[in-house]
Every structure is written in structure tokens, then in C-alpha cells.
Symmetry: C2
Subunit: 238 residues, 2 copies
DNA sequence: CGCCAGCTTGAATCTACTCAAATCTTGTGG
DNA sequence: CCACAAGATTTGAGTAGATTCAAGCTGGCG
């Protein structure tokens, strides 16, 4: 029993969904069973392709993916990152077609998300998950539209921290950030060169350190205050 | 009967929802009844406030609104525009809290969106509406992140054309654009001065004209090709 | 231990911003 | 119906933040 409890808490995807809404035993078991049947996807492989029909809703179990769009001349924009516990292709609509391509940025594990019919307690978790995803899209728009390079970087890092904390993959301003500066640039609407310069400036200013894929934000609260960031909220409860 | 048929087609909100998914008589009547009970909102008034609980889903019947976020130092970002036939506050979640403020940009009429329980045919229309809204958020991200000023303006105008056509409020590249250049700038992540300069350049290039709130895109298909824009699609069917 | 992707640095350039002032529109009250 | 005020658009000049191009460096991996 204790061992089993430990398993839930330890599984990032399960942990995130539990944090979004209370789950009953049925829901937990459905999730664990689904996660047990998860499959691997190699970096640069698509989880979903723009314009292609969406056959099932996926739950990301491990790894990072990104929703991207590539322009005719090769410019690339990353719309958002998909982290463990995130749902992909949730829409509640008939014949849905994906409006963007999602590719794995690291080795990724995904499974088919359990159907709500099988575990009604999941409905609220899925709904909150989707609402949060939308809220993060809005945050991305504000970032690209109105923040300068330094603020964009700080704001994105704080968002990733917030999101990874839900899955138990971050704490005390520290988490694994398995991206290159170029990928970061594509998410921030900047060039890799400029991201590099701004990162170094932030390091020199003592705001953060980032080596061998581990990012540390030295004082998340202070940085959030500095760039005017507030945590995302989508329910009155949490 | 003919008179009544004409009424549906003519009402922009109804027309948009009909275009998104087939509606039965029950759904149409529920919508018409709701629209008949619509209320007016003056320009600059909020339809929804960030952080405030969302009490009901609204259907925009007339006028333009905008989802905005204002930063501490007064910078403002418009995340998207809300047009007739759009739904506001749709989320299917308990205790939802609005993740952005929505304000009327013109005199607006809204009504309570009919409940799906009362007219099940609405479910698909609502789901498609929400999926389209999300797709337009992605488009806004790509616009802000990777397009230059000229492309942003053209792309947004083409998007508005596409959306207004669903409601029967635009055709042949022509529609009423009841915004100031400053509002446009806040949507495009630019300054009003720069928007002004780019608009004049576009006018001189013969791409468009815009006087007394009427915008004309002279050759929408050509402009779309030029800036690399494809129409938004979210269902396999339409 | 050598290679390659990713990171770092510099210099020149450019797009978009800022500030400031003039002109044009629109709506309103007399 | 005109005059005025307030808001919106236009124009100019100078500046700043980010890009581009190019070259050198570093570290992780086969």
C-alpha cells in the first residue's frame, strides 16, 4: 500500500493531474493502467501533425515536446512546450484536425489518455488541464507581444518552473531544462545569438545559472516581481 | 417561414454557429430566444474580468470586443478579438476563473449562451468554436513571434476577413474594421506610429485601403500568398 | 582523441521605438 | 450649421534593441 502510494506521487503525469483536481481510486487506476501501456517517441519525431486528423487524446508521461509551426522560408515558432502530465489533442469535438505539429524535444513517453466515461473524476482534471493550457497560450502571447528579451526569458523560465512543480519535477527554482538556446529562441521569438547574450547577462546579474541542462533560478519570487509575473490561475478553488 | 429563414441567415451570431456545425430546429430556436434577450455593453466596459469567477458562457451578438492584458507599467497586449457569433467563457469546468479581461471595443450586444442540455446539436458547434478560438491563439503567437510588421498586419487582416465571413459580415476582402491604429498596435505587438507607417506603405503598394472604418483588401488571395498565410481548419469535415 | 553540435564573441546593420509636433476627423453643443 | 475640443492620424529625426554574418571556442560522445 505504502509502496503503491509512493508510486503515484512519484509518477510525474499522475502527480500533475492529482494536483489539478481530486481523483478517485477509479481514476487513479485508469491512469496507472494507461501509463503502464505507454510508448516511446524519439527526439524530433512528431506526436501530432498539423492538418492531420486527431485519432486519440494522448497523455505525456515523460519528456518534453513542443507545439511548433514552420513558415515557408524556414522560420520556426514554438507555440508552447508540452510537459509530463500534459494532455495532447483534447478537444471534445467530432473529426478534429490538429492545428499544429507537436514534436518530441527529448525522448518522450506517451500513452492514450483514459476515457472520461471510464473514470468520471477525470473530467474535471482534463477540463482544468485544458484551461491551463489556454491560459499559458495567452501568457505566451503577452510575452511575445509586450516583453523585451530579458523579460521574455525570465517569464518563460518562471512559467516552466510553475508547471514542472505541478508534476513534482521542480522545486526551489531548480529544474532540468533539456533545451538548446536555439530552441529557446524559437519559443521566445528571438534569435539564438540574442538569447545567448541575454542569458549571460542574467547569469552575470546573479539571477540564474544553467549548466549541464540544470537551470537554477536563484530567487524566483524576486525575479517574478522584477518582470511583473503572476502565477496562472484558472479555478476559484486552486 | 421565408421571413423566419431570412432572419437566421441575417443574424451574424446565428449564421456563424450554423457555419461551424449543422443545427437542428431546437438549437436554432434556443439561439434565437437567447439572442432576443441580449443586453448591451458600452465601449470600454468589461464583459469579463481577469481573476473573476466566470458565471455564465456568453454569446456575442453584435460588436467587437478584445481579450486584453495590461502590464504593471501600462503596456497593453490584446490577445485576440471577439466577434459576433463568438463564445466567451466556454470551458466545461467547475469554478472557472477568467484568465484574461475582455472589454468591448465598440457597442456590444451579448446574451447568455443556450445550454447544451437544452439543445444537444449545439455541442458540436460550441466545441468547434472553441477549437477555432484556440487555433487563432496559435496563429497570434506565430504572428508575434516570427512575422515582421508588414506581415503581421496583413496576416491579422486576413484572419479577421476569414472570421467575419463566417458571420456574413465580410465578403470580397471588404469589412468594417472599427478599430483605431493604436488598438491594432496593441494586438500586433507594435507601436501605433509604426503601424501607421506600415499601413501607408501597404496603401501605397495597392494592397489595401481603409477609410471611414471600412477596410478593403484588394486581392486577399494574393496577399495571403505573399505573407504565407493558410486558412485555419479544425475539422476534417469543413 | 577528434568531431560536431552548441555556445560565445564581435562588428555592422536594420527594424521598430521614442519623442515631438503638425494635421486631420469626428462628435458635440451652441 | 458652424466652431471647438478631443481623439486619431501623419510626419520627422534621433535612438535602441535585436538581427545578421562571421569566426573562434568548448565539451560531450563515438
Amino acid at each position: 500500500m505504502i509502496a503503491e502510494d509512493y508510486r503515484h506521487i512519484d509518477a510525474p503525469a499522475l502527480r500533475r493531474l492529482e494536483a489539478l483536481a481530486p481523483l478517485d481510486q477509479t481514476a487513479r487506476q485508469a491512469l496507472q493502467a494507461a501509463i503502464a501501456r505507454s510508448r516511446k517517441i524519439a527526439p524530433r519525431r512528431e506526436l501530432m501533425i498539423e492538418g492531420r486528423e486527431v485519432k486519440e487524446t494522448l497523455l505525456v508521461v515523460r519528456g518534453w515536446a513542443a507545439r511548433i509551426r514552420i513558415l515557408g522560408d524556414g522560420r520556426r515558432q514554438i507555440m508552447n512546450f508540452t510537459l509530463p502530465g500534459d494532455l495532447v489533442g483534447l478537444c471534445g469535438q467530432e473529426n478534429p484536425v490538429s492545428s499544429a505539429t507537436i514534436i518530441a524535444m527529448t525522448p518522450v513517453a506517451v500513452c492514450t489518455a483514459p476515457d472520461i466515461a471510464a473514470a468520471p473524476a477525470l473530467a474535471q482534471a482534463y477540463a482544468v488541464s485544458r484551461a491551463r493550457e489556454e491560459a499559458y497560450l495567452l501568457a505566451q502571447i503577452a510575452r511575445l507581444g509586450r516583453l523585451n528579451a530579458h523579460e521574455r526569458i525570465a517569464d518563460l523560465f518562471l512559467e516552466l518552473l510553475e508547471r514542472l512543480e505541478f508534476a513534482g519535477l521542480a522545486s526551489h527554482g531548480r529544474f532540468v531544462l533539456p533545451l538548446t538556446q536555439e530552441v529557446l529562441a524559437d519559443a521566445l521569438g528571438l534569435t539564438a545569438v540574442h538569447v545567448n547574450r541575454m542569458l549571460q547577462q542574467a547569469r552575470r546579474a546573479g539571477e540564474l545559472s544553467w549548466q549541464s541542462k540544470e537551470l537554477v533560478i536563484h530567487d524566483p519570487a524576486a525575479l517574478a516581481r522584477q518582470v511583473g509575473r503572476a502565477p496562472v490561475r484558472v479555478t476559484a478553488a486552486g
